[in-house]
Amino acid sequence: MASRWWRWRRCCSWRPPARSPGPGSPGRAGAVRGARLRADAGAQVSYFNLVKSLTSAFPNMYSISRFQHTTSAACCCSKTRSGEKYTDPFKLGWRDLKGLYEDIRKELLISTTELKEMSEYYFDGKGKAFRPIIVVLMARACNSHHDNSRDVQASQRSIALIAEMIHTASLVHDDVIDDARSRRGKHTVNKIWGEKKAVLAGDLILSAASIALARIGNTTVISILTQVIEDLVRGEFLQLGSKENENERFAHYLEKTFKKTASLIANSCKAVSVLGCPDPVVHEIAYQYGKNVGIAFQLIDDVLDFTSCSDQMGKPTSADLKLGLATGPVLFACQQFPEMNAMIMRRFSLPGDVDRARQYVLQSDGVQQTTYLAQRYCHEAVREISKLRPSPERDALIQLSEIVLTRDK
């Protein structure tokens, strides 16, 4: 926990310089673009150029990111912002999540031993529970914004369970699709029980999540979370194809990132806000926060695929390249090394492609630029959530968006 705090303090320092670019408020541009991901491809093109020009105009900016290992004395202390002392957001969130995994296992009412074992395999309490934490913190932040009642409603806590279940169901299917061998430091379901059964386990978790969702008894909430399931599938489809044009490619990548990762966080944040507060403005704040944090989370995930070693991640690294996927760092690196274009188009399928691409990425500033982009999204998330009335949970969400940037696993 101490180290988290430390990392948080370290990363705070990006904020003052990040505000200085001023013109056009790029953070806002990013948010607007994100909201129109599907409809408006034109904005995406200019956004990519904007990011490029920003990063080149402020070359020092990313040196203050997680890659700077010196102490930042100029840390701005947001400690005083809400007048309350920060605690670890994970610790704060866990207060409402005690027995999370037991409760999820209770939802998986299955009589067959093996099927039950498979479905419960990832609910072993060893995951980060990043999504449930955000969801309960958002619930409390919205509740206290609305009428100062900070307790989490039972239905809101159910959303935390459901979010984790939908996430896990998609992991199980993704691992079959990618033929992955390990996750969270253990073998994947498909490697232990085979693909046939793994797919059923995924379907089963999804059906259990849908039952729990229906039992909340709110049709709006059902529609909101159904959107997630659709986005997850569409995201997976986007991942199948690749685009020739580099601007299109970047937009494609961000859209995929939104659908595969951010949609779940954004929509479950929205769902708890709907349950806790009737004001549509608050629903939009919750959605925007979740969306921006979600995209930042995935961008950092893509960076870690290059910078982290496999022991830390619990899964092999360079995994994306091996799957033929060009993520943020690769797309940025491709700006500096156009010879990567051919590799991207053939999905790193020739022998040596993966290693060469990795070298190119590490030589380029692709990693830094992706991290910088993630910072922009986090900045936007903080800007959104700050519109809510102060509460320890709101501040924990601010802090959480910064932890997203500094995490190393």
């Binding site: 299955i110 009589s111 067959t112 099927l115 299917h173 079959v176 699709i177 033929d179 085979g194 693909e195 046939k196 059964k197 797919v199 059923l200 379907d203 089963l204 999804l206 059906s207 259990a208 849908s210 039952i211 969702l213 229906a214 039992r215 909340i216 008894g217 709110n218 049709t219 059902i222 529609s223 159904t226 399931i229 659709e230 997850l232 599938v233 569409r234 997976e236 489809f237 199948l240 194809g241």
Partner: protein, 410 residues
Amino acid sequence: MSLRQRLFRLPRNLGASGSPRRLWWSPSLDTISLVGSWRGQSSRSPAHWNQVVSEAEKIVGYPTSFMSLRCLLSDELSNIAMQVRKLVGTQHPLLTTARGLVYDSRHNLQLRGLVVLLISKAAGPSSMKASCQNYDMVSGIYSCQRSLAEITELIHTALLVHRGIVNLNELQSSDGPLKDMQFGNKIAILSGDFLLANACNGLALLQNTKVVELLASALMDLVQGVYHENSTSAKENYITDDIGISTWKEQTFLSHGALLAKSCQAAMELAKHGAEVQDMAFQYGKHMAMSHKINSDLQPFIKEKTSDSTTFHLNSAPVVLHQEFLGRDLWIKQIGEAQEKGRLDYAKAWLHSTGCRDSRGYSQPAGAVGSRRYEHAHCLRTYFFSTKLRLGNFTGDLNFVACQIYILWN
């Protein structure tokens, strides 16, 4: 009353003249006898089948294209179609499933939806609540019930596609390159998930949490049922599980009955019918689907030539009943004897060996045992059939067509 007792009692009831039956299901009796006589004729001919289906389609208003245009025209589906094309020439089972979707759609796949529509029309609007009169109704069926029928098809098809995933570590060299199989799995998962996502979307649009819960639990049942089916068919050539007919019924309900039962119930819920009608609809859907399964289990035993290579599952209804009848030990012994005679001719040998031991002393061994097993399962089916007909509020016409569909489907 145990099932066996019921089985032995039923033939007497049913075999006798019409009078005892009349007390049971008086309004529908004419239909039964009609249907009975149809059975004797060439009721299984495809032409007749199509005639009945189109009659049913006329009743429900318009043809059964449940996979909605919205779904068919989407980018994702054309993407799937493109990817599936790459699989041509490989051994992946997704190809067979996809072929079935195209060529067999009028036979098996959309029938669940058709049943949901038929029961929706049969039940009609609820007299209790006026509110649902605002719903738009075409040919006596609410549009939400039509969506439900489509969702039922989507869920069924999704699981059909997910059933066809192959285990990569069990591949034989005859299955072709590993890469093809990996790719096939990938597309199968994605397309199944795509269909499920569409189903979820459709469910959310119905704006009824009880219906969402019903269909979600039907999905859960179905997944568990498919799991059981997979695990028993994996050891197909080995030996039967020691399950009685009650376990068989539970598992078959999960794999075959739950979806139709719960969809029929949900259709009533959408029309705001009360618990009693909902329960009747549930029973109707359940027994319809169970009868279908029993009948297909019976096929290898009632075909003329048992020497055909028609394989049967050792966990099919007649076998399970037979095992229960003989007792486990004797059964295992018989199987052992049959297996000694070689696996290829397994079915025939098995029938023969059990046939010889038949105490009734029928002259044709296979036929003898076959007929007794047939009798058992036939009773079981009749039992389901009778429960189904106790549905009170079917109009004569509809019931007629529903029964025809039932008989033909089975």
